[in-house]
Symmetry: C2
C-alpha cells in the first residue's frame, strides 16, 4: 500500500491533493517525475550515474539506489504518473531525526535560463546559501520519549540566519527540547557527528571524492542527515546515522572540472560540524572576527 513518507523534511508533499513522493513500507521510495524537464533530467542523472563505472562503490553508497521508473497512481488523484523508483533512505528507522541541507552558494547552473537564474540568485541571497555556502531546507528533530518532533516551519526555515543555522545544527544533536530557553546541550554530538563512521567522517569521505571527481556538477542538491535518537540514547552501534545525497533535478555534466561550488559549500558545512565537536558548549562566533575598519 503506497502512502506519503512519515518523515519528509523538504520538497513537495503528497498531501491535500498535491503531487508528492510515496513509500511502500517495503524499502522503496517513489518520487513523481516533475512536470517540466526537471523530472526527465533527474531520471537521466540516476540512469547515467548508476551505470557509471567511474563512481567508486563507497561513493555510490551515499546515493539512493535507483530501480528505474514506474507508472503509478499519482498522490494527487490525477491518475497514472511516472515515478522514479528509489531506495527509501529512512527504511528501518523507527523515529529518525532528519535534516536536509542544500549545498552550494549558487543553486543555478551557468547555462540556466534568465528567469530561473534570477529566481535562484534572489533565493541564494535571501537565504544563507550565499554567505555560508549552504542552507538548511528543512529539519525534523525527535524531542525524546513521547515529546514528539520539533519541526521549524517552512517560512521560518527560509528566513534562517547564520546564527539560526548554527543553532539548528546544534539542536539536531541535543537532548533538551528546542523550546528550552537555554542553549542546545549537544549531548549527542559526539555519537552522531563524531565517531569513526559518524557524520563528519562521512562528509570528509564525500569531500575527498568532490576534490577529484569531474563527472557531475550538483546544483541545488542536498545532503540529508539522519539518525535514530533512541538508538543513540541506548548506545546501540551506529545510532542509525546516515548521510545521503538527494535531489538531482539540476545535475550538470562536469566537463573535466571539479564541482567547486558544491565542494566549497560542503567544506563550509564540515567546518560548522567540526566546531560543534570541538566546542559543544555554544560560544559566540563573534570572537573569531577580523577587523577591517
Amino acid at each position: 500500500m503506497l502512502r506519503p513518507p512519515d518523515h519528509q523534511v523538504a520538497g513537495h508533499q503528497a498531501a491535500e491533493g498535491q503531487l508528492g513522493p510515496l513509500v511502500d513500507g517495503a524499502g522503496f521510495f517513489y518520487k513523481p517525475l516533475q512536470g517540466d524537464d526537471r523530472g526527465a533530467h533527474e531520471a537521466a542523472f540516476y540512469s547515467s550515474f548508476s551505470s557509471d563505472p567511474r563512481v567508486p562503490p563507497h561513493v555510490r553508497a551515499f546515493f539512493p539506489g535507483f530501480h528505474g521508473t514506474q507508472l503509478l497512481p499519482a498522490s494527487d488523484g490525477s491518475g497514472p504518473h511516472p515515478h522514479l523508483v528509489l531506495d527509501d533512505l529512512a527504511a528501518c528507522l523507527r523515529r529518525p531525526s532528519l535534516i536536509d541541507i542544500k549545498i552550494g552558494a549558487r543553486t543555478w547552473y551557468p547555462s540556466a535560463p534568465d528567469d530561473y537564474f534570477h529566481k535562484c540568485l534572489k533565493k541564494d541571497r535571501d537565504t544563507t546559501s550565499l554567505a555560508l555556502g549552504f542552507r538548511i531546507s528543512g529539519a525534523w528533530i525527535h524531542q525524546g520519549g513521547d515529546a514528539g518532533f520539533w519541526r521549524p516551519d517552512r517560512d521560518a526555515v527560509r528566513r534562517f540566519t547564520a546564527k539560526d543555522v548554527r543553532r539548528t545544527l546544534r539542536q539536531f544533536v541535543s537532548s533538551n527540547p528546542a523550546s528550552d530557553p537555554g542553549p542546545p546541550d549537544c549531548a549527542f554530538a559526539s555519537a552522531v557527528y563524531g565517531r569513526s563512521d559518524g557524520v563528519l567522517a562521512q562528509l570528509l569521505e564525500l569531500k575527498a571524492w568532490f576534490e577529484d571527481q569531474t563527472l557531475f556538477h550538483f546544483y541545488s542538491a542536498s545532503v540529508l542527515v539522519m539518525y535514530e535518537r533512541e538508538e543513540v540514547e541506548g548506545r546501540r552501534a551506529g545510532g542509525g546515522v546516515r548521510v545521503k545525497l538527494v535531489d538531482f533535478a539540476h545535475v550538470m555534466e562536469g566537463n573535466g572540472v571539479i564541482d567547486h561550488n558544491f565542494l566549497g559549500g560542503l567544506c563550509s558545512l564540515i567546518k560548522f560540524i567540526s566546531e560543534i565537536l570541538t566546542d559543544p558548549d555554544e560560544c559566540s562566533a563573534e570572537s573569531n572576527k577580523a577587523q577591517l575598519s
Copy 2:
C-alpha cells in the same frame, strides 16, 4: 630610483602617464592606493592581516610583507600620492616567468552595491571564473635563451576558454615556445608544479589554511606563480618557484565562516595542476565526460 616593475602581468600599469605600481630595485614594491575606497580598504586589510596573531607564519609567507603606506610621487606625474609599501615579490629573480590567476567563481562580495555586483557577475560569466572557479588574469612566460617572453594580450586573456586555460597552464611550464604548432611539452612541469616545495605542494598548504580559517574572505584576489626558467634548466635548487597571494582591495571579514568561494576555486586550480603532473602529455578532457542526455 623608482621605476615601473619589469614583470607586471595584470592590473594598472605605470606607463604612458598612468598611475601604476613602482619598484625601487632594492626589494620594495610601491602600490598606489586606488582612488575610490578600494585603496583604503586594501591598506586596512594589510594592516589588520599583518598584525593578526591568528595567522600562522607559514601562511603569512604567502603574502607580500607590508611596510606601511608612504607618500610618493605618482607615476602619472600628478604629484604626491599615498602608496602601499610592500615586498617586491619578484625581487632577486632575473627573468621570471609569471602567471596571475584570479581565484573564485564569484568576484563580488555579498554586500556589493548593485552596479559593482552586475559588472562582476557579467565578467565572471564572460570569463572562465564561473565555470572553472578561477580565471587567468595575465601571463608572462620566458621562451628560453634570448627568445624573450610570450605574453598573451589582455583581450585574448579575457576571452580565454577552459581549453585556453588548460593550455596556458601547460605552456607556463614548457620548454617549447608558445608559437609551436604542437602541444606544450611540459618539460618543467615536475620541477615547477611538482617537487616537495613546488607549486602544487604550496597550493595544498594554502588549501589546508582555507579549509579552516574564518577570518577573511578574499574576493577578486589572485594567486601569483613565478619561477626562473634558467634556474630550472640549470637544475638549481628551488628554481625560483614562488607562490604568492596578491590584490586585497575586496577582502571582507569572514564572520566565522570559511571562504568557500576562494576555497572551491583553489581546489579547482589544484585539480588542473595535478592533472598536468599526472598526465604531462596533453590529452583531451573530453574523455572524462558524463552523459546526461
